[in-house]
Each structure stands twice: as C-alpha cells, then as structure tokens.
Amino acid sequence: MNSAEGERPAQVRVVVVGHVDHGKSTLIGRLLHDTGSLTALRLQEIRTAAEHRGVPFEWSFALDALQSERDQAVTIDTTRIWLRLPQRDLVLIDAPGHKEFLRNMVTGASEGDAALLVVDAHEGVSEQTRRHALLLELIGVEHAVVAINKMDRVDFSEDRYRQIRQELTVLFERIGIAAQTFVPIVARDGDNVAVPSGTMPWYAGPTIVDAIAALEFQPPAATRSLRIAVQGVLRRNLERIIVGRVASGTIAVGDEVLISPSRVRARVRSIESWPPDGRTEARQGDAVGFTLDGPAFVDRGDIISSPAGAPAPATELRTRLVWLGRKPLAVGDRLSLRLGTRLAGVEVKALERVIDIDSLDAGGTDAVLANDVAEVVFKSRDVLAVDAVADHASLARFVLIDGLAIVGGGTVLAALDAPNAATNDLVPVGHLFDRDQRAWRNGHRGAVIWLTGLPAAGKSTLAMLAEQKLFERGFQTYVLDGDNVRAGLGSDLGFSHDDRSENIRRVGEVAALFADAGTIAIAAFISPYRADRDRARRAAGAAFHEVYVKADASVCEARDPKGHYRQARAGTLKDFTGITGDYETPLRPDLVIDTSAISPPDAAAQLLEYIERVVRLESGATRSAKA
C-alpha cells in the first residue's frame, strides 16, 4: 500500500466554471488539442459533427457530446476529460454556465480540487461569474486560476486585463478564494493556453497549462483527530465489522474511540481486510473495516472519533446552502437532511440571510429562491453528531431532500445547541392534543414494548441498549423495569403470586399512559403469567407489542448475573420463576428475540428495527405533510 509502483503524483481535478458563452468548452477543447490529448478518432468525430450541422469546426463538441448540447451549442451537463500534462495528470471537469443547469455546475464543482474560472474580456465579470465564485467557496474549492478569454475582442488591451483582474481580486478576497493566477487568453486560437503568445507582449506570466501545473495544495494534516462516518455494520461469522471511510486521522488496534452521538467509548479490537494482510491501522482516505471490544452498539450514521475533540451532539444547525428547489424555501418547511451517512428529518427554523449576488451583502428574507445562496438554521428531530465546516469540512457537508428529490446542498457553519436544551418548546396550557397530533409533533407514535422472559434472559440489557439508541435518534422513550418501579409504584408489594400480578397490572397501566402521551415505553419484566400480560395489552390497546426475550433455562442459569439462580437452588430465594418453572411462554408474541443464539448488539438491532417500524408515521417528513 504505497506509491512505490512508479506512479506519478496523484492527479489534480480542475472544474471549469464561468458564465455561459464566455468560452469554457472552447478552452477545454483547445487544451485537449494543444496537449495532444485528443485522439485522432475523436478529432474526426468532432469534424463530422460540425459538418453535419453546417457549422465551423467547434472545439466544444469534444465535451458537449449530447445531441441536444451540440444542436443548441450549450453545455447541459457536467463532464470529465483526462489530460496528461508534462508535470502532472489532470482531470478537467466541464461545468455548464447556463443558470438553468446550476445543479449540474454544483455537481461538477463538488469533485474539483481547484477551479479554472473563465471570464469574457469584452463582457467582463457577470452575475453568473460572481455566483460561480460564491458557489466554489461553498462547495469547498478554494483555489482558482482565472482565464480572461477573448482578449482579441478587446484588442489585447492590458488595461482591460488589469481592470478585470482587480475586480476579481476584490471579489475573491471577500469570498475567501485564493486566486493564484490571471491569464489573458484567446481560447479559440490557443493564445497563452499551452504556449505563450506573441499577441500580448505585456504579459509575462504563465500559460493556463503552466498555471494549473503549478497549483499547490496543503497536504491534509496527519495530526487531525479521527473521524469515520459509519456506513453500516457487516456481519461476518460472529463478528460485527463496522465499515466507513476514514475522513481524517488514523485508527489503530488498541485505540480508544468515541461513538457519537451516544458518546459511548470503546476500544478497537481489529482492523479487517481482505485478502487478510495483517494490517493494524488505517489512515485518512482508507475505506476501513474494524471491530470493537465490548457490547457497544454502532449503527449507520454514527460518527467514530478519537475521545478528545469529538463532534458536538446537537439538534440545531446553522448552515450555508445553495437552494436548488423549484418552490421557495420558507420557515417551517420540513425536509430530510443527509449529513455524512446520517439521514435526519429537519424543519427550517430561521432564514438568517440571503447573499445578494451583486453586492455580496447579506439581507434578511422570508423566502429563499432557486439558485440563492443563504444561511439557514435547521432544527433536527434527532440528535446529530456535528462538525463545523471549519474543523472537518468533509463531515460538515449535507444535501437536502424533499420527498425523493435533491433540493439543495451546503455545509454546517455551527452547531447551536446541546441536546438537553433542545426540546423545550412550550405547549400552551389547556390545549388538548389528540394522539395523532402528539405523534406528528414527535415524529413517531407512542407504544408499549413489553419484554417478557425468564430471569437473566437479557431483557434489561436489551431495554437499555434500545432506549439509548432510540433516544439518540430523537425518539421519546423510557424504560420501566424492576429497579425504577419496585421502589415507588410497587413499594407496598411483595413477591407472592398475587403481589406480582398486581405489580404487573400497575406497570401495564402506567406504560399505557406513557404510550398515550406519545412515548415509547419499554417495559422489561419477567411477567410470567399470560393473564397479566393480556391485561397489560388491554390497557394499551393497539399500541401494545409483546416481545418474547427467549433463552433456554439452562443458558439463563449459566448467566445468572445477579446470583438469583444460585440462591434459588440453595433455597434462600423463594418463588423464583426460573427454577420453579412457572413461566408461561407467550402464545402469539409480536416478536421473538433469541438471546442464546445472537449477541446483545444483534438482539438490540433486531428490537430497534421492529420498534422503528411499528412507531413510524405513515407519511414521511415531507413538505406536503405539513398541511
């Protein structure tokens, strides 16, 4: 895994942007030709295509491959072209300049390491030039080479060149783009494209090719803290292999890592690879697989980091975004936000500013229109692990989804809250809500998840893992178990048959109230008698879900974490369900989880999958659902 195989330095990807008709495609065609990158066949194809349309030879046909692009002489979608410069390999990304195809320009730009911004010397800096510059910064492209094109149309005027250069320098400084070089060119004729031109003797700077070859990038700092956005968990034999790309830092066997947003710590047990090569660490850029020690529950969307400098758990995000939706974006709109590998339902809480393209000043607004760049505050139902773009750019990038369509993208500028302060919206006193309204507010239904099974079958472990995960994902949830019920609600009760029945009756009633209030109540009780469980089901109605946590009596006795089985065998614990065999197995449980066959994290995953399914609302968090 090194570059010892005699490879050239990694390629640089340059996105070509600018106003429509300022000559982007022509410049690329010329670059292809002048660097000998165009195959003879391709050249012939372009000639034929031009003849076929009765137009003069058109360099842009090298890129505008679609019939409609050639017929209308406009770039519709972004494309890629590979060039070999003497110094480095180059991937040019052609991005359409037409306003209507801004989503395609943004798509192309998001793969660029640097930009080549083309400006028509005659027409000068246009609105679209400014918009593209603004979007480059938003997308994360911080380096630019500027081609001031069609210099022949301004009589190769040095004054005009200086004027445009000055205007752009001011613009870039305000936006935050490092423009390294401004090259005056005539793309059609190849002036200053690959070879210096005699038409502008006042210009002593590099050609476009040399300027691109000279672009320098900061290598990523090796000291930056670890970040992995978890793509998912693969089960191989009994292992749970967590997979994702290392966004920054390194991860090695024995490292302690933090899982966010739950903020649980765990230790790395192994780095997995195939074919096995014995590696013990992975670095930035690697698509890694690893396992953790202990029962830590990791799922898609979690962030793995080093314990120090972890991402902040938050539900309110200040963002900067480009809006690509047809309808204006307004406060109260509900969308899905995809941040890293996490998908979260969000609501627009505030539209803070819209950037005016001409002045670059920010103005207040009540709606964000298509193609606007704006700063927007979102409120998430879930707790998200959030990095700001200034700290970990690749984890701060998100797209916005409305129904099934992508309607925008941007970066997180800051997390605005801690999770505890997140859900303090006041409810007017005296206002009555029905179950549906509560469910809509919470984003899910209430439920009673009743875990029944032998002592030491794993009910409490399952309940705790599920509660933790549900909480992180923004669900209202609460665990009822012997520990928090026996001390108060059932403090007058003992362990006789009647007392146990009464205890379960009370728990059933309380759990039903929780469910009615919109909460997912997870009740973890042996609850050995069918009649008692059926009574609890009647209390909660359709919201009741009986989960049989199954494990053989022998397995439970072997586990015996509280020593109850041992005491019962010794005769010091009376009426113990596991030994006397008076547990009545559920006849028609809604779910069976066999904890003697699978690990606690797998069991919890099974339970979570079930819970998330039964509490889900019919319609998703789309904007139309608001009405």
Binding site: E45, A49, L66, R245, W274
Partner: protein, 269 residues
C-alpha cells in the same frame, strides 16, 4: 508519525469500495452486471474487498450467446473459484429489437431489453455497472448513483444534483438506480490495478500473432487491434503512447454520431 502518501490507485480503490458499500446498505434488492471484461472483473474484485471475500448480491451476465468462447470459459472458472451467485440472463432475440437502430447496435439493444426484463422480474432497485467516464463521451456525463425510469430510460437532460460523496439513493417505486463505482477510473488505471492486485483476465486481452482485443464485445461486432502487448505491463506501456480510443474496435459506437447516446438513453449501460 510516518507520512504515507496514498497512491492514486489507493484513492481510486477506497472510493469505489465506499460506493459499493453505500449501494449495499441503501439499495435493495441489488445486483451487479459482469461482462467478464477487465472493468467488471476488477469491479468484482473490489466487491470482494468491500465485503471481505464474499459478494453479497447476484452477479449477472446479460448473455447474447455471442461472446467469444474464451469469455465463457473465463466466466465458469471464476464463478466457481469465487463462489459467485451467478445469473446468466439470456437476452431476447434480435428480431424483437428496434429495427431503426444501426445493425451493430442491435446486440446492445438486446442487452438493454434483457436487463429491463430482469429488473422487472426481480424488482431490482439497484444495478451496479462497471462503466467509466473516459470510455465514451455520454458516459462522461454520468452520475455515480444514476436514476432510471421504469422502462430503463435515462433522462440525461434532467439528471439530479450529486454533491461530494453524499449520494442520494432513493428512487420512486418501479424506478431503479444504476450504480457506477468505476466512473472515476481510466482505462490505464484499471490495468495498473489489475496488475497490482493480480486480478485474472480473459487471455484475449493479450496479443497473439500480433493482434489483441482492447475492448471485449460480441464476436461479430468487435475487432482486435494490432498489438504486441503480451503482458499487462506491455498493455500499460502501449496505452501510454496510443492515440486511438479504447472503443475504436467497437463497431456499434461509430455507425452514427448519436448511436451510443440513443442506446444509453434507451437503457443501455
């Protein structure tokens, strides 16, 4: 801390593996097309890496029964050795294909029709395909997760935005996604990777009697090129200097200017 500068191949590989995993976790049911060519075989190797030795979805050959015999032999050997869930999908006969397509393009038309039928039958939401942007100008316009209408058509004028590596993986019922993990690779990248990883290839890629196949298609519409490249290292050296395109030997690409675009918007890979 010792600095390791990841090579281009490491970066290409990691990105492809991440895309394959994204497809696996987000799109179901899922399958992969395998033509036994160098690209989809390298892709298969990447899938084995991504999922630690086992390919967790079916691998499909859209079979026109016109592949070269060496290709079929290669399929059977590798399917057994790599324990693939191989599905051989026979494509409908040429008589059922759009007669306005140029003759050599009709084999591709048969594949599109075979794929459409398979997707409909298996209700697939995702098809992993080993195409690359540098192969062909309309492929250069592709997305990594590229939506297709129920009839398989590609609405090239209205492709969705695709930002960074935050891929959008949801499509309406009946639609499906073409997933392109090799989109960012070039021909020589694939050969360098095949060499580095020691991935098996169909022997027809290597020169015999001064001829070799640079691109493998159906036997009646693919012609070998003049070459003395007898090893992968020779091929890489040859590609460093060549000025002809990879698909020059594919007759179907050159019958008409819009032949390939018509095929692709109609559902071809």
């Amino acid at each position: 801390m010792q600095e390791r500068s990841p090579s281009l191949l490491d970066e290409l590989e990691a990105r492809s593996i991440a895309i394959l995993r994204e497809a696996y976790f987000r799109v179901s049911p899922l399958m992969m097309l395998w033509s036994m060519g160098k690209d989809s075989t390298a892709l298969l190797w990447l899938a084995r890496k991504a999922f630690f030795g086992e390919v967790p979805f079916p691998v499909v050959l859209l079979d026109t029964e016109m592949e070269l015999p060496e290709v079929y032999r290669f399929r059977d050997e590798l399917a057994a050795a790599w324990k693939l869930d191989l599905k051989n999908e026979l494509c409908p006969p040429e008589a059922s294909i759009d007669p306005t397509l140029p003759p050599a393009a009709r084999a591709a038309g048969r594949k599109s029709a075979g794929l459409r039928a398979l997707i409909e039958r298996g209700k697939y939401r995702g098809v992993i395909v080993g195409i690359r942007r540098d192969e062909q100008a309309t492929r250069a316009k592709e997305r990594v997760f590229s939506p297709r209408a129920p009839d398989g058509t590609w609405d090239v004028k209205r492709q969705p935005a695709e930002l960074w590596d935050v891929y959008h993986t949801d499509v309406p019922d009946g639609h499906h996604l073409r997933i392109h993990p090799l989109l960012h690779w070039t021909e020589v990248d694939v050969w360098r990777y095949t060499q580095r990883e020691n991935i098996p290839i169909v022997p027809l890629y290597l020169a015999r009697d001064g001829k070799r196949y640079r691109s493998l298609g159906e036997k009646n519409i693919t012609v070998p090129i003049d070459s003395h490249a007898a090893t992968i290292a020779d091929i890489i050296a040859e590609l460093e200097t060549t000025t002809t395109s990879e698909r020059a030997g594919r007759v179907m690409d050159h019958e008409a200017e819009d032949a390939f675009e018509r095929l692709r918007t109609g559902g071809y890979m």
